[in-house]
Structure formats: structure tokens, C-alpha cells
């Protein structure tokens, strides 16, 4: 029964929560800047508005451009069904789902970059080049972190790896390794969801953007799908990170769900704070940042050898 409720809750959260995280980030940033900022539910309004709008399609594009938002949403939703959002196992879990998870995110990215090139625009080409360059460095960081979790749990499924990660005793070597991979995963999260210091989602200068510039030619529901997919990615990666950081207790399912929910909102707040307090890095230093994330994960791996 708890599993059934857990699955329902997870699906509901996946469907409804993501835009709220963006709302919180924007609200936090507004707070830091001394503005009142848009309402916390603004992204929901934006999505609803976009869904009703008509689309403009560039005459240069092909089916790849139309398929990309769809592939992004479908692959990120499937990936999201493999990460436990709460204290119960995720709806889909099997041996090796961690690899499927990473590759589904890669599938979404592949189509998004492809669609950017489909428009024949130099700005979008620029965004695509940056996106796949950074992915080449964030992917090993993610896998090194996964290796640490596999070693600690002895399991080959995200649900079985992440749930015990929260009961590692504080002060043990394993907890030190978890701290290191948590730092690494936070950097990966910032890079994958295009936040400062890697990318600035708010800028209006195409030359400096990454994700936003790739979806420059998307409009209406196509743009809505891309925004939803990227916010969903943020939710999944944040939940992933929280499992490593939060001390969950399998006996107290209700408390743990609450803790995870609050945790997700806090992560959004932290991202908003990072965005307000830091400047965007020069693009040529971003690979260095991601290599640092790899090193953090790598040292975590060395600790538990």
C-alpha cells in the first residue's frame, strides 16, 4: 500500500512540481535584488499561455526541430520515473537503470542540440556547441559519483543505491565520500540545468547563453515543452542530490516525504542564492569547473577503495 501511494505521489510530483522550483528560484533572485519579482506560480501561467499559442516554424527546419521538444519531455519523464523522489522505490527500477537514466538524459540533449542546428542560426549553433562540450565533462563526473554509490550500496539500481545512501553513519569514511560527490553533483546539476555560474537563463544577449539560445526559435507549445523538460530535469537532479545529503529514516515514511519536499524547495532556494551571489564564469573556464567536479567525484571514489 505504501509503495502504491509512493508511486502515485511520485508521478504527481513529477507532473506538477517542476515549474514551482523555477518560481522559487526566480523569487529568491528577486529577493536578493530587492525586487518583488513575479508570482511564485508564474511559470505555470507561462506554460499554460504557451500551450494555447500558435507556433512559428522556421522554413529552414525539418522534422528534427519538431521532434526535439517531444523527445526531451518523453526521455526526461522516463528518467524521472527511475529516480526515487521520496523514501520509497521509484516506479521503474531494474538492474542497470542508472545507465538508462544517464543515457536518457543524453538522448534528450542529443535532440535538443540537433534541433538547434536545424534552424541554421549561428546563435543556436553556438549554444549547441557549448552544450555538448560541457556534457562531455559533466558525464564522467556523474558516472564517478554513481560508482561511489554503487560501491557503498552494492546495488545496481538507482532506487537501491540512493535509499541506503541516506543512512550512512555521519563521520565515517563513506560519509566523507558522500560529501565529495554531493559537491560534484551540485556542480553537474548547475551545468545540466543551465544555471549560473555555467549559463545565465535570464540574459537577453544571445551571445552569452547556452540553453536559452538553443531554444530561441521554439515558440508556443514547443517552447513550453522545452521549458517543462528542463525544469523537470532540475527536479530529478535535485532529488538525486537530496538522497545523498538528507538523513532519511525508512521507518518514518511520512516524515521522509515531508523532508524530501522541503528539501527540494530548499535546493531551489540555494540555486537562486548562488545565482544572485555569483557572476557567470567566462565560458572558457566552465570546462575547468566541470573537471573540478570530476576530481571531487574521483577523490570520493578513492576514499572508499
Amino acid at each position: 500500500m505504501t509503495t502504491f501511494i509512493g508511486i502515485c505521489l511520485q508521478v504527481a510530483l513529477l507532473a506538477l512540481l517542476p515549474p514551482l522550483l523555477l518560481g522559487i528560484i526566480n523569487k529568491t533572485k528577486a529577493g536578493f535584488a530587492g525586487r518583488r519579482g513575479p508570482p511564485i506560480l508564474q511559470v505555470y501561467y507561462d506554460l499554460l499561455r504557451l500551450m494555447k499559442k500558435n507556433v512559428v516554424i522556421s522554413s529552414t527546419t525539418t522534422w528534427v526541430f519538431l521532434a526535439a521538444p517531444l523527445v526531451s519531455v518523453v526521455s526526461v519523464v522516463l528518467a524521472g520515473l527511475m529516480v526515487p523522489l521520496g523514501p520509497t522505490a521509484a516506479p521503474i527500477h531494474f538492474t542497470g537503470d542508472l545507465i538508462m537514466f544517464a543515457y536518457l538524459l543524453a538522448l534528450g540533449r542529443f535532440f535538443t542540440t540537433m534541433a538547434a542546428l536545424d534552424t541554421g542560426s549561428s546563435f543556436e549553433g553556438m549554444g549547441a556547441a557549448r552544450e555538448f562540450t560541457f556534457a562531455c565533462f559533466s558525464e564522467p563526473a556523474l558516472f564517478l559519483a554513481l560508482l561511489v554509490l554503487v560501491k557503498l550500496s552494492g546495488a545496481l539500481s538507482l532506487s537501491a543505491m540512493l535509499l541506503p545512501a541516506s543512512h550512512v553513519r555521519i563521520g565515517s569514511t563513506a560519509s566523507a565520500a558522500l560529501v565529495l560527490i554531493a559537491v560534484s553533483l551540485f556542480v553537474v546539476l548547475l551545468a545540466e540545468t543551465s544555471r549560473i555560474p555555467v549559463d545565465d537563463p535570464n540574459t537577453h544577449l544571445e551571445l552569452t547563453m547556452i540553453h536559452e539560445v538553443m531554444v530561441l526559435d521554439n515558440s508556443g507549445p514547443l517552447l513550453g515543452a522545452q521549458i517543462y523538460a528542463s525544469s523537470l530535469k532540475l527536479l530529478i537532479l535535485a532529488a538525486f542530490l537530496l538522497h545523498i545529503v538528507l538523513p532519511l529514516n525508512p521507518a518514518l515514511v511520512g516524515r521522509d516525504w515531508g523532508l524530501m519536499l522541503v528539501g527540494l524547495l530548499v535546493v531551489a532556494g540555494i540555486i537562486g542564492s548562488v545565482e544572485s551571489l555569483m557572476a557567470r564564469l567566462q565560458l572558457r573556464f566552465v570546462p575547468t569547473l566541470l573537471v573540478a567536479a570530476c576530481l571531487f567525484s574521483g577523490f570520493g571514489f578513492l576514499l572508499i577503495l
Binding site: N54, V55, V56, I57, S58, S59, T60, T62, V64, L66, A67, L70, V74, S75, L78, I92, F94, T95, G96, I99, M100, A102, Y103, A106, L107, R109, F110, T113, M114, L117, D118, T119, G120, S121, S122, G125, A128, A129, R130, F132, T133, A135, C136, F137, E139, P140, F143, L144, L147, V150, K151, G154, L156, P221, L283, R284, P287, F301, I304, L305
Partner: protein
């Protein structure tokens, strides 16, 4: 039913397909169809037999007397050889059909007939290679394959690039054969027979076995294209006709892997160092192969470097399996070997698909230079869709076949965590290789097929069905293995068990084949339904121009090119590359037209092989006096060498007594 005989029918049919095609006139297509019919018929026979042997776990052998004294032709077909026969016959037949449209006799009157002759011999040689049980026969089949490859590479021998590629290949392959001769000679001395039998464990020490292992890795590695022995590969595969490149890349490289597997079954020692060595070598090959691919501007050369990458991935699986044998970990053996073997099939499928699609692009647009192409997805819809499918598969993205074999290797590497966790670091390398491959194929597909044309090449057109039907079959096989991996579990298990000779845990218990199928089908249906629903919604979509900050006349020159897409990644990884930049010189007030381009050259070829080769030629030029060019001289040299050998082997005293 005698399956071995049926396989042999396939071999003979391919060998005869060339001569049959020679009956026709130079400018007539009719006999080309007959020749293809013979080849494809033989290929189907061979496929049926190979599947029967593989699925039924049969072994059939045959010993025929040969013309040479004291020699026999010993053939045997078993699950492992059948596993390699399947891609040989399947891709051989499909490429032959493709050749009907791509290399039409009437359009290539000079080269068409000789190409088919060597192509048939290549396939026949490779198929024979998997059957031979005798080292002399093995070497003969090996040379048949190696030499016909040379003639195929120089099909267009009027082009200097093709001749150059052919010579480099010839040197490389002879070097490999030399090492293989040494390998088999030692095996002959050790085992007392030319038959390929396991060496007796007690008599042969670890040192000698390791020497044999290294000879096999270098000798077969030269054929497989492992870094740093790959230097001949990119140019050779780029300059051969596309359907030949597809066969060379998709199948012929795997004969190197087959050779390694075959020799490993003969060696009885299994020190962990061997497996570790192969795993490292594989990881390095995979990483450097994909890295060099990213900087390429020639679509076929780019694909050729990806072969180096994929051979690396195959080798990682093999290394893991060897380590499993050394450490007595059956799970590592199963996952490593199954990953290695499935990737042999998969790479054969998607790489042939990509090369054939590239051939279709060359046929339609007339150039191999990525930076001149663009926007082909509109004029070549089928080719574009199939190239996309191949790209997704080669990047290992779900739900296609590349993902399944990489998943096996990943799982195997994760399983090492409990015992030798350092090995699992290879999983992180594989992840980076995957991301780099995705970057490279985004670049390749994006620049060739998307956007608008970057130069005024002649109007591109879709190829004829003889070209795209074989491509569709390959694409369908990629999808089938991707969404129904349970189909390949049994063949993989049979081949793995034959190779290892132990009882192993079932593959089905280690990989979630059914869940993978369900997810794959779910993904396809999800995207499919979405597309249909979206199409209804997009009826009233407005068509506009691409947003260029208010600029109303975007031009083709504003697009990103292959160089600019790769620039950031190449700059970040500069220490590992050998990139030359040709930057524009800007001077004066009125700046004239200027150009910028980058060349990523192969460091092994440019910095190691070529300097050594130049020095060698300089040194050897002193001996040129002996090269008279008349046959009498060479017969005289042979006589001298024979006498020298005689003097060397027979003690001089014995010779003295014999004479006087």
C-alpha cells in the same frame, strides 16, 4: 543437414561472383546483376547455416586432402565461428546489393569488374578464416582477405590519395602478417602440429605464453585498428568506395578481434595482467579514437575514426572477460564477453549503415567534405532518417542496439566493484566516450543534413532503392536488437560458452532484457504518439524565417560549420590533440576575403610512422643496387638464400662428410 557444406556453398558463391560478373561487357549492367544474384544467394545459404549452427550449438568438422604434400584442409564450424559468419554474410550481401546502384558497371566500366572480383574474394577469405583449424590454412585465408582489401582500397587508383592509403595499408598488413607467421611458427614448435590446438599447459611457461599473447595482440591489432596501430585505417576506409568501406569497417576489422579470440582459446595461461592490459588498451583506443574523430571534416574519415573508438569498446569487453577468467568471476566473463560479441554485431550493423548513408550522400551531393554540405535532410529524406538512426545507435542511445551492448559492458564493469574496484573506473571513461561520440554525431548530422547548404554543390537528390533498401534492412536490425534484446541472449550465450569452455551463469539473469524491451517500446510509442498528436496541432503553424536578431535575410554563411562547432571542445582538449590552425592574416584598412580552417592530423601517422618510414627508406636506399628488376637475378637470390639456410641448419662437418 550438413551445415558446414552450406557455409562452404556461401564461400564458393562469393568467390565466384567476381569471375561470373566478368562475362559481361564493360558498359553493360546485366552481368552485374547475375554476379550480385550469385553472391546474395550464397550469402543467404551461409546465413541460414550460420544461424542453424549458432542457435543449435552444433559443431561440424571436415578434413579435406590438399594439393600440397602432407597438408590437409581442416575446417570446423562452431557457435563462435558462426557468430562471426553472420555479419560477414549479412553485410557482404547487403553491400553487394548496394553496389548495384552505387558502383554501376555502366558508370564505372574500368573499375566495376575488378572491384567485384576482389570484393567476392574478401568475403570468401573472411568466411574461410572463421572455419580454418589449421594454421597454414588460416594464414592463407588471412592473406586472401588482406590482399583483396588492398586492391579494394586502390579501386580508384587514378587518385593519389587512394594509392597512398593503399601503400600505407599494405605495409601495415604485411607487418601484421609477419608477426602472425612468427606466432603460428612458435605454436607449431610448441604443440608439434599445424592444427590449432590448445598448448599443453605444463610444457609452456608463462613467459612464452605472454610472448604469444603479445604477438597475437599486435599482429591482429594491426588489422583491428587499436591505437596506436590504427594509423593506416582512416585513410584506407575513407578512400575505398563506400560499400567497401562499410564492409571493411563493419566486418573486416572484426576479423582482428576474431583472431584474438581464436588465439586466446589456444593459450591456457590467464594472468590478470593480460586482461588489465586489454582493458586499458581498449579504454585508450575508445577515448583517442572518438577524440580524433571530432576534428575531422571528411565524413568518411570521421566514421573511420569512430571504428577505432568502437574497436576500443569491444576490446574493453574482451579485457573484462579475460580478467574474469583470471579472477574466477563467471559474471565478469559473461557480461564482458557478451558485450564484446554483441558490440561486434552492433558495430557491424550501425557502422555499415552509416557508411552506406555517407555513400548515398556522396552519390547525391558529390562531396565528402562536411563543411560544404548542409540541408540535405530536405532533398534526401530517407538517407537523412537512416543516418540519424545510425547516429543514435553508434552513440549508444536508447532504445537502439548500441545501448544494449554498452549496457552489458557497463554492468560488467560495475560488477568488478566488489573485488577490483579500480577496474570500474573504465566505466567513467566509457561515459566520456559516449558523450564525445554524441557531440561528434551532433556535429556530423547537424552540419551535413540540417541547416542550409554551405556551398553550391550540384542539386542533391535521393538515391535509388538499390541503395536505400539495404540501408533500411540494416536500420531495422538496429531497432530490433535495441527493442528486443532477449532475441540475442541465446546466441550470445552459446558463443560465450564456446569461447570460455566453462559453465557460466545465464545472461538472462544478469541483464533485465524484458524491462529494456518494455522501456524501449514505451519510448518509441511515447514519441510516436506525441508526433502524431503534434502534427494535428501544427496545422495552423506559421512558417517564418530563422530568428537572427531582427536580421531579415539570414544567409548560409551565418551558420555554424563543422570547425566552429568542434572548436570549443577541441580547445578544451588541446593537449591531447595535434591540431594545426590556419588563421587569417588581417591587415590594412580594407580587409580582403580570408579563410580560417583547422586540421586535426593523426599524431601516430604524422609524428611516429612517417618519420620512421622516411629514415628507413633512406637507410634501405643503399641496398637498392640489388634490385635489378630481372627475374633471373631474383632466382639467383633465392638460390643463395636457400644455400645459406642449408649451411645454417646442417652442421658444416656433416656437409663435409656428405661431399667427400
Amino acid at each position: 543437414m550438413n551445415w558446414l557444406a552450406l557455409v562452404f556453398v556461401g564461400v564458393i558463391a562469393f568467390a565466384l561472383s567476381g569471375p561470373v560478373g566478368m562475362l559481361g561487357r564493360r558498359r553493360e549492367n546485366g552481368w552485374q546483376w547475375v554476379s550480385a544474384g550469385v553472391a546474395v544467394g550464397g550469402g543467404l545459404c551461409g546465413l541460414v547455416a550460420a544461424f542453424a549452427v549458432l542457435l543449435g550449438t552444433l559443431t561440424e568438422s571436415l578434413s579435406l586432402p590438399a594439393a600440397a604434400p602432407a597438408m590437409t584442409l581442416d575446417l570446423r564450424v562452431g557457435p563462435l565461428s558462426a557468430f562471426f559468419l553472420i555479419p560477414i554474410f549479412a553485410i557482404g550481401s547487403l553491400s553487394t546489393i548496394y553496389g548495384l546502384g552505387y558502383w554501376r558497371q555502366s558508370r564505372h566500366p574500368r573499375t566495376g569488374r575488378k572491384l567485384r572480383l576482389w570484393y567476392g574474394l574478401l568475403i570468401a577469405g573472411m568466411a574461410m578464416l572463421t572455419l580454418c583449424q589449421n594454421s597454414i590454412d588460416f594464414l592463407i585465408a588471412w592473406e586472401m582477405m588482406a590482399l583483396s582489401t588492398f586492391f579494394l582500397i586502390i579501386t580508384e587508383d587514378q587518385k593519389p590519395a587512394a594509392r597512398q592509403a593503399g601503400w600505407v595499408y599494405l605495409v601495415a598488413t604485411h607487418l601484421g602478417t609477419l608477426l602472425l607467421v612468427a606466432l603460428f611458427a612458435i605454436l607449431r614448435v610448441v604443440s608439434g602440429s599445424f592444427l590449432l590446438r590448445p598448448v599443453p599447459p605444463g610444457q609452456v611457461g608463462m613467459g612464452l605464453q605472454t610472448a604469444l599473447f603479445l604477438l597475437a595482440i599486435v599482429g591482429f591489432g594491426l588489422k583491428a585498428g587499436i591505437v596506436p596501430l590504427h594509423f593506416w585505417l582512416p585513410e584506407a576506409h575513407a578512400n575505398a568506395p563506400s560499400h567497401v568501406s562499410a564492409t571493411l569497417s563493419g566486418v573486416a576489422l572484426k576479423m582482428g578481434i576474431f583472431g584474438m579470440l581464436r588465439v586466446l582459446t589456444l593459450l591456457t595461461a590467464r594472468p590478470p595482467a593480460w586482461g588489465f592490459f586489454l582493458l586499458t588498451l581498449g579504454a585508450v583506443s575508445a577515448f583517442l579514437g572518438v577524440l580524433w574523430a571530432i576534428g575531422q571534416h571528411d565524413v568518411k574519415k570521421l566514421l573511420a575514426y569512430h571504428s577505432v573508438e568502437n574497436i576500443g569498446i569491444i576490446l574493453m569487453g574482451l579485457g573484462l572477460a579475460l580478467l574474469g577468467e583470471a579472477e574466477h568471476q563467471p559474471v565478469w566473463i559473461v557480461l564482458g564477453m557478451a558485450g564484446c560479441l554483441l558490440h561486434v554485431w552492433n558495430h557491424g550493423l550501425f557502422k555499415s549503415l552509416l557508411f552506406l548513408s555517407a555513400g548515398s550522400v556522396i552519390h547525391g551531393a558529390g562531396t565528402r567534405d562536411i563543411d560544404r554540405l548542409g540541408g540535405l535532410a530536405k532533398s534526401m529524406k530517407i538517407t537523412a532518417a537512416l543516418f540519424m538512426l545510425g547516429s543514435l545507435a553508434i552513440c549508444g542511445l536508447p532504445p537502439l542496439n548500441g545501448f544494449i551492448s554498452e549496457l552489458f559492458i557497463y554492468l560488467g564493469l560495475f560488477h568488478t566493484m566488489a573485488r577490483l574496484p579500480i577496474l570500474s573506473l573504465a566505466a567513467a571513461v566509457l561515459a566520456m566516450v559516449g558523450a564525445l561520440a554524441a557531440a561528434c554525431f551532433t556535429k556530423a548530422y547537424g552540419v551535413v543534413f540540417l541547416g542550409t547548404a554551405r556551398s553550391n554543390f550540384r542539386r542533391a537528390h535521393e538515391s535509388s532503392p538499390t541503395l536505400w533498401i539495404p540501408m533500411c534492412i540494416l536500420g531495422a536490425a538496429c531497432v530490433l536488437i535495441g527493442v528486443a534484446p532477449s532475441l540475442v541472449l541465446a546466441p550470445l550465450m552459446h558463443a560465450t560458452a564456446t569461447w570460455s569452455g566453462q559453465t557460466l551463469p545465464a545472461l538472462g539473469g544478469l541483464v533485465p532484457a524484458r524491462t529494456l524491451s518494455m522501456l524501449g517500446v514505451g519510448l518509441v510509442i511515447g514519441i510516436g504518439v506525441g508526433l502524431v498528436w503534434q502534427r494535428n496541432g501544427l496545422r495552423q503553424a506559421r512558417i517564418g524565417i530563422t530568428w537572427a536578431c531582427g536580421y531579415i535575410a539570414p544567409s548560409k554563411h551565418m551558420q555554424y560549420t563543422a570547425s566552429s562547432l568542434a572548436q570549443m571542445l577541441l580547445t578544451a582538449l588541446r593537449p591531447l590533440l595535434h591540431q594545426r590552425r590556419h588563421e587569417p592574416q588581417i591587415s590594412g584598412v580594407l580587409v580582403g576575403p580570408s579563410q580560417f580552417h583547422t586540421v586535426v592530423s593523426d599524431p601516430v601517422l604524422k609524428d611516429a610512422v612517417e618519420p620512421i618510414w622516411r629514415r628507413l627508406r633512406f637507410t634501405l636506399a643503399r641496398g637498392q643496387g640489388f634490385q635489378k628488376g630481372s627475374i633471373q637475378n631474383y632466382i639467383f637470390y633465392m638460390l643463395l638464400i636457400l644455400l645459406a639456410l642449408l649451411a645454417f641448419t646442417l652442421p658444416l662437418a656433416m656437409l663435409w662428410r656428405l661431399l667427400f
